[in-house]
């Protein structure tokens, strides 16, 4: 098991280096991607561009620049500085991380609870009215773009611009440490949006998986042994059906930690996704590089955790 984990971690590190290299090269071949010109402003004074080029070390060979970048990243965890504000990218990302974690963690709790609940109930009563209504609703939520859904919820329920003024609206986020109650209420609408499409997907997934599990021989055996239906479903059916869910929940959380751009933008939550979006808008490449690397890190870590979890649950994985 230890060797397996080490192998997965090494693969993760290698993958991160590859992503870093890819990002680095990408920003050199992108149109309008000359950092000196971006930093120089719009009058493009050649003297200033030359000076900035020297300051940023852009006159050095590409490989040297890459090595310096990797070295700063590896030794000092230094992602560079914003072209505009001169703020450290690391501090910007760490400053935004709590908001994104708040959004994703709360959303995940809601989507897992509601998605799994609805999916299990639907699986136990397939083709019933409840099942059809649940799956129809899930289809609608899956199809609803997050951005649109966010706007609709704001226009319906936000305390400032809503028709029924219930929940705090956009730009109301406060950190948990500042005011836990406000933190909670400000995130209710964003959580619902994050949870909506995911809950719908999870409901459909668990329903399909559970229906399949409940048709297996071991379920029949369990019932024949006289176990209660509740025990049969939860201990034998759901336990087996939930494996694929566990696989994707890790990845989904990893992806969302790096890219919940739309929800953060609509609700004006200062998270990593919005930081990335703003940086792309302004071609602030050190921030884009930093946030994309962070997103990659989240996904790789989530992947490794899922792999390890799988290996723990199913020893055959370790030898494959």
């Amino acid at each position: 098991m230890t060797r397996y984990i080490i192998r997965r971690l090494l693969w993760g590190v290698l993958l991160l280096i590859l992503v870093t290299a890819l990002l680095f090269v990408l920003f050199y071949v992108l149109p309008a991607g000359d950092p000196a010109k971006l930093r120089a402003g719009r009058l493009q004074n050649p003297k200033i561009i030359a000076a900035i080029r020297a300051d940023l070390g852009l006159n050095k060979p590409l490989l040297t620049q890459f090595w310096i970048y990797i070295r700063n990243l590896g030794l000092h965890f230094n992602f560079g500085y914003s072209y505009y504000s001169n703020a450290s990218v690391k501090s910007l990302i760490l400053d935004r991380l709590p908001a994104t974690i708040s959004l994703v963690a709360g959303g995940a709790v809601i989507w897992l609870a509601s998605g799994l609940g609805v999916g299990i109930i639907s699986a136990l009563r397939p083709r019933s009215r409840l099942d059809r209504a649940s799956m129809g609703g899930a289809l609608v939520l899956v199809s609803a773009p997050e951005y649109w859904l966010g706007l609709i919820l704001l226009y319906l329920f936000a305390a400032d611009i809503g028709q029924v003024k219930i929940f705090p609206g956009a730009n109301s986020y406060v950190p948990l440490t500042t005011d836990p109650v406000k933190w909670f209420t400000s995130l209710i609408l964003p959580w619902l949006v994050v949870a909506a499409s995911n809950a719908a997907i999870y409901a459909r997934l668990i329903r399909g998986s559970l229906i399949e599990s409940l048709g297996q021989d071991y379920i029949r055996t369990a019932r024949a042994k006289g176990l209660t239906e509740r025990r049969v479903v939860l201990r034998h059916g759901v336990r087996s059906a939930i494996n694929p869910i566990l696989t994707i929940v890790g990845l989904d959380i990893g992806v969302l930690l790096g890219s919940s751009v739309l929800v953060e933008t609509v609700f004006d939550i200062p998270g990593i996704g919005k930081l990335n979006y703003d940086a792309i808008t302004h071609s602030d490449f050190p921030i884009v590089q930093g946030t994309v690397l962070f997103a990659a890190l989240f996904i790789i870590v989530a992947n490794i955790l899922v792999d390890i979890g799988y290996a723990y649950l199913d020893p055959r994985v370790r030898y494959s």
Binding site: P31, G41, L43, K47, A51, G169, A170, S283
Partner: protein
């Protein structure tokens, strides 16, 4: 030339204002500028209230966009200026409703010597820097601020363009510039190598002339890049919220999140023409434009201070008209035609394109008469020289007569160009590069179709706006024939600032990004510009540059199609003062709460 970025912003305005077309202006009132109308009930520079406001309170500002550079030596963007002009006092600045400079840190108008090579400016007594510097501002602080303009660590984007005639400029690297002297604590003298005193004096409205205390800033300016912006001290009514060391980053400014301006405790109202009604300005950065615009309209003590979304302008016009401000003078847009290469070296072909172009349709795509005016020449409203160049109607040429396009006139010029059928029959396929995103793409398509109707075969590409400038229209060697989506916004109210860079042959840059997109290089016009650069006096310059504008139209160097107007929205309990000189931004130093 806040062109690229601010025109990008204006383009966003365009994107967002589609659908406001035909809002109507039949029942309209005149704004500050003669001939510019706005619908009844809408706030304009002529009827906005910026005096007699109530003191105190906190204004909440909702901005979608972040600042670019908050260092007064580097800032060059409408959003930056909102905060920079509230916290800093350049030598000259503006009242909200007029694009005309008034003395700010300067005590009076600049004194220009008879040979136009020396400028003498006396600065005010009793202006103090904010904490932690606290001491009185002297002329040496203004001199250091100007020295910083040549410091590559500061990377000022326009200093060379306007101040290169300063003695010693060519050797300047951030240290003292020999042409800047301070004979006493309250006098600064600028000596020039050429008689260009007027344009230098005009450029002193830019924030690079805002005083910077050398003993405090030097250590920050030695960093690459300078970190003074994140530790700056203020001279205006407000200052960035900072800790005791003066640090702003992470305290008064959190990039992408928020900014806070508080009262400058050392500001002395008796030295300033600005009232500074508000106690504090809380700026929230990054909200969705469709949400924050609505929050501003329906909220309290709130404004949106960047370009409102299309749906918001429409909503404001229909339901919150008294909370909608429209300012003219937000730049021009034109179709750049390559004057130096390809078929459009032929003046009659350029005139044919101008004549055929349906400028009204292009403006309608941007939002119609509420936010656009069909352009008839290049100097736009609020810039001196506009009336001299023909005002709204523009110079009298048949190709300029019909903003909806005139096929008969176009045919006439096609024939004069040597195409007897009235259609282009040359073998050349012309390259047209426009900008993606509506309405820019719609406008580009109208131009492309116009060219096709004239018989041209076109290779039509739409790319991101920054790519359009940096890889195509701004690169001479690409030899792009037509760029339908370019535009210009003058740095200050002067015809030279509006015309020189985009239309003077000497400004064609071959080793960088060129902003003379049509590669306009007509010796007669170049010579006229060179002469006009040396003209001293506002009315004489307006006449000189107005005449040049007419000559540009006569040569049909490009086809202008829009003068932008800019919208802004506020809550009902805000007495906003919108800046006509800064794309309708609400001016924090004049805005008050009701």
């Amino acid at each position: 030339m806040r062109s690229l970025r601010t025109i990008t912003l204006a383009a966003l305005a365009g994107v967002l204002t589609v659908g406001v077309a035909a809002c109507g202006s039949s029942n309209s009132s005149k704004s500050a500028n003669a001939g510019i109308s706005a619908p009844q009930g809408v706030l304009t520079p002529a009827n906005e209230s910026w005096t007699g406001g109530k003191r105190g309170g906190t204004l909440n500002v909702l901005n979608h966009e972040d600042f670019e550079h908050i260092d007064p030596g580097q800032s060059y963007f409408a959003i930056d200026y909102e905060a920079v002009y509230a916290t800093q006092r350049p030598l000259y600045s503006y009242n909200p409703n007029k694009f005309a400079p008034v003395p700010d840190m300067a005590e009076s108008a600049p004194q220009i010597s008879s040979d136009a090579k020396t400028i003498t400016i006396h600065i005010r007594h009793g202006v103090h820097f904010s904490p932690p510097v606290n001491r009185e501002v002297t002329s040496a602080d203004v001199a250091y601020a100007l020295d910083r303009g040549a410091n590559t660590n500061v990377a000022n984007p326009y200093f060379e363009a306007y101040f290169k005639s300063l003695e010693g400029f060519s050797k300047a690297k951030g240290g003292p510039i020999s042409g800047i002297t301070t004979p006493d604590k309250y006098t600064i003298v600028l000596k020039l190598t050429e008689p260009k005193a007027q344009i230098v004096a005009d450029a002193l409205v830019l924030p690079v002339s805002a005083a910077v205390p050398q003993e405090y800033a030097k250590k920050f300016d030695e960093k690459k890049p300078s970190e003074y912006g994140n530790f700056q001290v203020a001279t205006g009514p407000y200052m960035w919220k900072a800790d005791s060391s003066g640090k702003i980053l992470g305290i008064g400014y959190q990039p992408g999140k928020s900014a806070t301006l508080v009262r400058n405790p050392n500001w002395n109202a008796s030295t300033d023409f600005r009232p500074g009604y508000l106690d504090q300005i809380n700026i929230s950065i990054g909200g969705d434009p469709t949400v924050i615009g609505r929050q501003a309209l329906e909220g309290s003590h709130t404004v949106q201070n960047d370009t409102p979304a299309q749906s918001i302008v429409k909503l404001a016009f229909e339901k919150f008209r008294s909370q909608l401000f429209i300012a003219p003078g937000a730049g021009n847009r034109y179709v750049a035609l390559n004057n130096s290469h390809g078929p459009f070296t032929n003046v009659n072909l350029r005139k044919a394109v101008w004549a055929a172009l349906d400028r009204e349709a292009m403006d309608k795509a941007r939002g119609g008469s509420l936010v656009t005016i069909p352009a008839t020449h290049f100097i736009y409203p609020e810039i001196p020289g506009f009336e001299e160049a023909g005002g709204i109607a523009g110079p009298k040429f048949d190709y300029n007569e019909h903003p909806q396009g005139d096929p008969a006139v176009a045919e006439k010029y096609m024939k004069l160009a040597g195409f007897s059928s009235g259609k282009y029959t040359g073998g050349t396929t012309i390259q047209v590069v426009g900008s993606t995103g509506n309405p820019a793409s719609t406008d580009a398509e109208i131009v492309n179709q116009t060219l096709k109707n004239l018989g041209f075969k076109t290779k039509f590409n739409l790319v991101d706006q920054s790519v359009m400038y940096s890889k195509f229209c701004g690169v001479v060697t690409e030899e792009i024939d037509v760029c339908p989506n370019v535009g210009w916004l003058a740095d200050f109210a002067d015809g030279q600032a509006a015309l020189d860079v985009p239309f003077n042959g000497k400004n064609i840059i071959t080793n960088g990004t060129n902003s003379n997109w049509g590669q306009v290089n007509h010796p007669k016009i170049n010579k006229a510009m060179e002469a006009a650069e040396n003209v001293v006096g506002a009315s004489a310059r307006a006449a000189a540059w107005g005449k040049i504008d007419k000559e540009l139209v006569e040569e049909a160097v490009a086809a202008p199609w829009d003068w932008d107007k800019q919208p802004a929205v506020e809550a009902k309990d805000v007495a906003g003062a919108g800046d006509v000189w800064n794309e309708a931004s609400w001016d924090y130093s004049f805005t008050s709460l009701k």
